[in-house]
Symmetry: C2
Amino acid sequence: MTGKSANVTMADVGALAGVTARTVSNVLSNHPSVRPETRDRVLRAVDQLGYRMNTSARGLKTGRTGSITLAIPDLGIDYFNELARRVIVESERHGWSVVIQQTGARRETELDILSGARRQHSDGLIFQPHALGPGDEKHLTGNDRLVILGDRIFNGPVDHVAMANTDAARLATQYLIGRGRTRIAAIGSNPGVSTISAASLRLQGYLQAMQEAGLPTPPERIVVAEEWHLRDGAVAMTHLLRLDERPDAVFCFNDTLAIGALHAAAMNGVRVPDEIAVVGFDNVPAAQYAFPPLTTIEPGTEQIAKMAVDLLAARVNGRTDPPREIFTDSSLVVRRSA
Amino acid sequence: MTGKSANVTMADVGALAGVTARTVSNVLSNHPSVRPETRDRVLRAVDQLGYRMNTSARGLKTGRTGSITLAIPDLGIDYFNELARRVIVESERHGWSVVIQQTGARRETELDILSGARRQHSDGLIFQPHALGPGDEKHLTGNDRLVILGDRIFNGPVDHVAMANTDAARLATQYLIGRGRTRIAAIGSNPGVSTISAASLRLQGYLQAMQEAGLPTPPERIVVAEEWHLRDGAVAMTHLLRLDERPDAVFCFNDTLAIGALHAAAMNGVRVPDEIAVVGFDNVPAAQYAFPPLTTIEPGTEQIAKMAVDLLAARVNGRTDPPREIFTDSSLVVRRSA
DNA sequence: CATCTTTGTTTCATCGATGAAATGCCACGA
DNA sequence: TCGTGGCATTTCATCGATGAAACAAAGATG
């Protein structure tokens, strides 16, 4: 029987149950020494009044808010919503709610996140920067409970959970080379961002593999795509298909680009993988249901989410050893697009 | 110059600036009567100490937390992450952060959301229920600042923002009929959920259109899919393609199912739309980049997000008129899959 | 020049839950 | 019988920001 829960406090509940607010608190936080009979009485009163804990009050006293912030570029990118999904699930184990902030990959907004301007007072921050990079370490000050995701952007004293971008990109490219492809293009380069961003690291992996195999990488085959949306993949692929010397394979820096690229290929009647092979990166759920199913890099998203949340939890619980840098295992998932 | 922001309070900032905590508060909340010179001094002190407002304390005093909760079944479904993306953007205008809760479409979890057990004390709730339905109105008690999305599930006194599910589904089906299709199947039915859930309403629209046209709807052409994930769409389509009397069109109850279905068609060498036409529902970004591009219902997601947030804001700001029920405009987006 | 406004700042109490410590009660052993 | 210790509950102060109202100083008004 739940009543109007206007402004019911622990004191109100206590009054009804014949105890003090403090005892109500004890009951609700499972303090060991509460008589079972009292516990029942209090819980009944809680129910009757429709009492809900005021998290602001608790937060003020305890210094914990019970929520963490996840800051990512854009929920519209499959990889990020998959990541968000998993971070939320993992956070539940620690009793945390998750506030999601979209930075739009804008430097200004990313700075706001670090400074706290655009962030609720939360117990911690899991942050995948995009526009920030080395040299921005000074903006980290005051963010002790922070885990950086994705790129090893900062040298400062921060925990990092990263995928092995370069190695995985090299692996993907090597696979294409091993299949006999020679004119291998890349989609997703972005000269505007830092040299340790995902875009740059994946490009490096691609270049390494090509160089090791003695294959050429003419500039027109390395297509810039700033946004990594479906649309950008399609545009890039259309461009590649129009080249005089058409590539026989494309390595896309994420699956979203790859799916856009597959679309462009199909629209132009170009057969994949016969005429052009396509490899992606991220292994998002949609990759498996693309046509043809997308060969891609599995970066260990689940592992990333879990590690990030656990690492943050450890920090919040007072772990003070030096910041760690964790690389997840990645692997190539071979499907039919390459 | 940002320093260790351990536990800096307004009082500390005030001490440095030579004013009271109250004046600091005035500065930070843009109170009109503060001398410019004082304002500068305070802001400098804020910067110097790396002060960050304690939102718990503010929340305790003002009764506002500055965040709202968005409860949806699963961020893994394209429609929902698109919705989340937009809700976050709209909420920014009102200065709200958004906490996202995934219910997994589980009744138990949905009840926890309403009761507040699984929800931070937030300024309001935008909730798309799935397993709850008529008869569960009693669980609404105590949730005054609430906007229900999607299905007109409750008769109780709550604001609703809904799409015209039945009408839109009828429209989609009528379009297929108008293109000369007669053996039209449906994917996404779910007998387990309430009669006013999206699944049921869309099925009704489909059935209405078929009946009006005098077309048969044998049970084997109405495929159950409880989850509405890519996988379910693929499985359902595979099933349909194996029928003795193969359908010449499919209406999928969402785009994710439709994209899964397209995949199954392609894997079986069945040409779309020549051999079988496919229509989806939701017009998610991926629909446009499916192959062939997906004909689908545009349900006005942007409008839904905006209305929901604005309606909630109005309630929070004390609007007290009777709850409203808003239906968004939907339309058919014709592409090449049908 | 005394009074009334306006402007800028301060004082004080308060929001609701919890940490620390005190209290009352009962059981138990010597 | 008295002390000792454990259990259950209470008392009290406190976290940090803000609403209400008081206050001081500077201008406006007659």
